[in-house]
Amino acid sequence: MRDVRIRFAKTGKAKYISHLDLTRCFARAIFRAQIPLWFTEGFNPRPYMNFTSPLTLGAESRAEALDIRLEDESMTDEEVAARLGAVMPPDIHILSAAPPVYKMNQIEESRYRVEVEPSNGDPEALAEAFRQVSEQEHLIVEKSGKRGKRKVMKQIDLKEYIKDLSVSTEGERTVMEVTLPSSSQFGVNPRLFLDKFLSETGEEPVRIRMMREAMYIADGILFE
């Protein structure tokens, strides 16, 4: 038995695939790739798979991770990656397979790139407006959370969680890069972040794009 960490990108149409659907999609892909997966014991054996915390629907990623457990250790990481890469749906790309370095639950934050195509065709002006929003003292938003089993809305101040924000433009787009918490305990998703900036500026963009670029453990160390 040995664990392998698969890193993958989820882009294009696949950004609309929910976490649950993604799990099923990988289970089938691993089966197609004939990778000797270890099954949990018990009445209803399930393949062992462990994902990073779910990405918000509509966001893309170049940094997702999935741990699987191999029953047969003879298959190399390269072969796992190659076999899996050959059988994935078009918009999910296998980036690498390697032994896990850190634990999944060590992940603390993620770096996102958020692109906005403004309706008035002036990305510079929107960049300026976004910069002004970022300088406000508070950025209060409603965030859904759970208290026990119940879903509750609570208020948080985004200002406390936004790290290393940069605002720039690229062609027709205004681009923000930002680091937000994304641990298994607490996360701020890029949609919540973006929606606040849009509502503060009154912008109704033609197009948006959200991309998870990387994940980090404590002290800004890259998750591997």
């Binding site: 294009g12 149409k13 696949a14 609309y16 695939i17 929910s18 659907d21 993604l22 099923r24 999609c25 289970a27 089938r28 892909a29 691993i30 089966f31 197609r32 099954f39 629907l57 509509g58 059988v87 994935m88 749906p89 078009p90 918009d91 033609v206 197009r207 948006i208």
Partner: protein, 622 residues
């Protein structure tokens, strides 16, 4: 992706329905093909994607280098609202192309209550609804599937229908279309030529006249259109195209598994069952073809379940060798085999266990009628002993849930026949409690489902009236009354949709007006209870001066010209009359393996029918 689509996707439930890009979806550059085909399923993604026919034809068309087949499903109400808001017309999943860009727009017609949903999709795509308002060869609207056996109620909307097995006729149609398109021919020229392809019915080339009482006087071909259109029959299932891959959706659909078809047709001849007659004659695949195809499908999809399908799986001549072969390779790969339509009493205990034939959800069984007399009327060739034997096997295997399916309002049914449903249920309960080895501390649940019967064309009951609403309700009440203080749970189908289903199934062309009117009043997704509105439908009938009872509750004479008499779907009228007369006597007809009853369907297959095979297919595999 279209910016409007990107904008609305986050606002709808299940955006995964509208994006395509699934594993094994076909990507082509549309500019490199001569023909673009939009395969439309008039229901939601989850239902459409569960359907086998769409998968076969999707890959079959895409095998051609000169054609690109893309899928289109009916957007759910929330998506429709958003699409209209941003002005996004109905589009294909593969490339997001609007419907208006396609050469051919093909609908699969699986159930009558989806007719208005076809109109909904056309309208959302900006395509004129009536065939006569579409003047170009482009956007040709075609239909196929079981409801095409009598497509008269929707004849105004479609340019042509394909009758019978789709694999060959579809290819012929595309060849002809390509030729006429290249030549710049008109739609009229094309349709005239298409009417000479076997299995293609062009309704605009037939005039229908009516008697004063509303019955059909005659259906007359215009010009040289054939007087009778015969359905197409694929002769050999071993060599006909079957895909080696399936689309594997991301989102959960109704039937999310690999599917292997093992034969077409049915040897049983249950008189109420349209499918049993419509897909005749019998054509079987060989055990080796089935195994090879099923294996390939599991490999290309990664599914851990394969469903072996046909109308009555236990009647496949090689069922025992097939199942033992399949049990071997599926067990090794941890794949489950699911076997709908199976009679477990025909199997050894070992096989029942090995294949987990009784699903965890319990045993389901369809006696269809409660009394033996009634089962003989409908030619459901099972006895009470067969039923009890299956039930005992289930109990011996520790199952304490039994689900039984029945029909109400069958022709020649009396209240005693209805009451017999409950009597049968009680016998099953007794059998459970008499079994000394029954699971301790577990009570038995027997669920009885009783749905109203809908008479369909091309069955021996095509002349018979549907039971009236009042009578059905009386019978349902009686069932509930008798079931109190028993362990029987009766559920009865309450919806009014079946009365309309009956009207459309045996309807004529005049119903086109009603369907259009109802659609204009907001009727679509009629198969969804929360969308169906009987009042709007009744208004539509009334405004068109037609009565649904004329179609549903009227007995036809054998002499009457039926609206579908010019369409030959296999069973001959003489055979159907013979069978209806036997039904009146509660006389049974042996199944086709015992004796051929000369149903007539073999005529469409050069006189061949696999039910008459003398060789045992099973032995061939060993």
């Amino acid at each position: 992706m279209d910016a409007r689509l990107e904008k609305i996707l986050p606002l709808v439930q299940k955006p995964g329905r509208y994006i395509g890009g699934e594993l094994n979806s076909v990507e082509k550059d549309p500019s490199t093909v001569d023909l673009r085909f939009a395969f439309c399923f008039p229901d939601t993604y989850e239902i459409g994607m569960s359907h086998l026919g769409i998968k076969i034809l999707y890959y079959l068309i895409n095998e051609r280098e000169d054609a690109y087949c893309e899928r289109v499903f009916a957007p759910w109400l929330d998506m429709e609202e958003q699409m209209r808001k941003v002005g996004l017309p109905l589009f294909s999943l593969e490339t997001g192309t609007p419907l208006t860009e396609f050469d051919l727009i093909g609908f699969t017609l699986q159930y009558e209550m989806s007719f208005t949903t076809c109109l909904y999709m056309l309208e959302l795509g900006g395509i004129p609804l009536l065939s006569k308002d579409r003047h170009d060869l482009k956007n040709l609207v075609v239909g196929g599937g079981p409801c095409a056996c009598n497509p008269e109620p929707i004849a105004d909307f479609f340019d042509l229908f394909m009758l019978g097995d789709g694999e060959e006729v579809m290819m012929d149609l595309l060849d002809l279309y390509k030729e006429y398109k290249e030549r710049g021919a008109s739609k009229e020229e094309f349709l005239k030529a298409a009417s000479h392809i076997g299995g293609i019915y062009v309704p605009s080339l037939y005039d229908v006249s009516y008697h004063e009482d509303g019955t059909v006087e005659a259906v007359s071909p215009v010009g040289d259109a054939p007087a009778v259109v015969r359905k197409r029959v694929v002769a050999d299932l071993d060599s006909v195209y079957y895909p080696d891959k399936f689309l594997v959706p991301y989102i959960d659909i109704v039937h999310d598994r690999a599917v292997e078809e093992i034969y077409r047709g049915c040897i049983r001849g249950c008189r109420f069952c349209q499918a049993g007659f419509l897909y005749r004659p019998i054509r079987e695949k060989s055990v080796s073809t089935i195994n090879a195809q099923a294996k390939r499908l599991c490999e290309s999809t990664g599914y851990d379940e394969i469903s072996v399908i046909s109308l009555s799986t236990s009647d496949y001549s090689g069922i025992q060798p097939l199942l033992s072969d399949m049990a071997d390779w599926t067990a090794e790969k941890k794949i489950n085999i699911s076997l709908p339509s199976l009679r477990i009493d025909t199997f050894s205990d070992e096989l029942v266990e090995k294949l987990n034939l009784i699903r965890r959800s319990g045993l389901t069984f369809a006696p269809e009628a409660g009394s033996q007399r009634m089962r003989d009327v409908i030619n459901k060739n099972i006895t009470e002993e067969d039923i009890m034997k299956s039930v005992r096997i289930a109990f011996a295997n520790n199952y304490a849930t039994v689900k039984l399916y029945f029909m109400l309002g069958l022709p020649y049914e009396t209240m005693e026949d209805v009451e017999a449903i409950i009597a049968l249920g009680r016998q099953i309960v007794d059998a459970y409690y008499q079994n000394p080895d029954r699971p301790k501390g577990r009570n038995l649940t027997v669920n009885i489902s009783a749905s109203p019967f809908v008479p369909k064309p091309f069955t021996p009951f095509q002349w018979e009236p549907q039971d009236t609403k009042a009578s059905i309700e009386e019978k349902q009440e009686r069932l509930h009354e008798l079931a109190t203080k028993t362990r029987l749970h009766v559920s009865s189908h309450k919806s009014d949709t079946i009365f309309l289903e009956a009207a459309f199934a045996r309807g004529d062309r005049r119903l086109g007006k009603v369907i259009l009117k109802a659609f204009e009043k907001g009727c679509y997704f009629d198969s969804w209870d929360n969308c169906f509105d009987i009042d709007k439908w009744m208004e539509a009938f009334e405004e068109c001066g037609l009565d649904p009872a004329f179609y549903s509750n009227r007995r036809r004479s054998y002499e009457e010209v039926l609206p579908w008499d010019h369409l030959d779907n296999g069973p001959s009228k003489e055979f159907l009359i013979r069978e209806n007369e036997k039904a009146k006597q509660a006389a049974v007809t042996p199944n086709c393996r015992e004796q051929c009853s000369n149903c007539g369907a073999q005529r469409l297959n050069d006189g061949k029918c696999d039910a008459l095979l003398k060789i045992d297919r099973g032995r061939e595999a060993v």
